[in-house]
């Protein structure tokens, strides 16, 4: 490992430690709460102090529902199914159908996540920017985008944190 290094400095190395993993999981939960509360803030704002005639309707709820469903799907996949295939023995065995199922469901989850972010941007543009609203009203659309971005970031952080642990346990098991 040490002598087949190309550069003088190692570019990027995932640290293998349990503390970093739990930090990542905590950070992911905090980011998810940030997203949910950013959206709920827009909802309550639209109900209470909203001076304009634009309100948060069910259209604004659709992207965050998509993001939450996508995060649930992505993180409930057993990652060993994908890992088995990546190690190269998933070709002809009986596990290939489950590997394919895992891939399809994972694709569904990621497209739900991306669709949530894209949908929130679409709502921002079509509902707020195209009608030239000024900022206190525009803030409801912006917080929708912030909420979906935070949920996607939380999903990414959770995925990376769990993969850190997988590497750790492999390096101890082998």
């Amino acid at each position: 490992m040490e002598q087949d290094r190309l550069f003088r400095f190692q570019a990027f190395k995932l640290p293998n430690s349990l503390a970093l993993r739990s930090c990542g999981v905590y950070l992911s939960g905090a980011l998810y709460a940030l997203g949910v509360w950013a959206f709920l803030d827009a909802v309550i704002y639209s109900k209470t102090v909203n001076a304009s005639d634009v309100h948060v309707t069910f259209v604004d709820w659709i992207p965050i529902i998509c993001s939450t469903l996508g995060m649930l799907i992505v993180n409930s996949i057993e990652k060993n199914r994908l890992l088995n295939d990546a190690l190269g023995n998933g070709g002809f065995g009986g596990s290939s159908t489950t590997t394919w199922a895992a891939r399809v469901i994972l694709f569904l989850g990621f497209s739900l996540l991306a669709g949530g972010v894209a949908g929130s941007i679409v709502v921002l543009i079509l509902k707020f920017l195209m009608k030239h609203y000024s900022f206190p009203t525009l803030g409801m659309g912006v917080s929708n985008v912030v909420a979906n971005g935070a949920i996607m970031l939380s999903c990414i952080v959770l995925w990376v944190a769990q993969n850190i642990e997988d590497e750790y346990s492999y390096s101890l098991a082998l």
């Binding site: 704002y45 209470t48 101890l172």
Partner: protein, 129 residues
């Protein structure tokens, strides 16, 4: 200097009571009882870690225990961030005023830290046996 457990317990109960005092004052001074939800959130926050984190099952070879530990940590961080975010949202939507926001947030953090420090002390005293 050795601190006796009785002193620790007295100081922690003082901090806990100060936290409750701050939150109830932030509700009662403006007779607006929305910030009382913060107490519920911060009392729920230490529960998942204490329920799911078992040190005898904390084995890196088995997957299921680490998964439940991850879920508990996720829920814990979600609840703590919610407890911080809820007064800010209430302030932004003008349901409470700014001093009530500050008082309820600091009171909730006092309650949470006193519970966490209490469990740490309890674990320390258990390790000495």
């Amino acid at each position: 200097m050795k601190v006796t457990p009785l002193t620790k317990i007295i100081f922690l109960s003082g901090f806990l009571a100060a936290g409750f005092l701050l939150i109830i004052l932030s509700c009662a001074l403006w007779s607006n009882w929305y910030p009382l939800y913060v107490v519920g959130i911060f009392l729920l926050a230490p529960l998942p870690n204490t329920l799911f984190t078992r040190s005898e099952f904390d084995d890196f070879m088995s997957d299921s225990s680490s998964n439940t530990n991850d879920f508990a940590k996720f829920i814990t961080a979600f609840l703590v961030a919610s407890g911080i975010a809820l007064p800010l949202v209430l302030y932004h939507t003008r349901l409470v005023v700014l001093p009530a926001t500050i008082m309820s947030t600091s009171g909730g953090l006092l309650i949470y830290t006193s519970i966490i420090v209490f469990t740490l002390f309890f674990q320390d005293s258990e390790d000495e046996f």
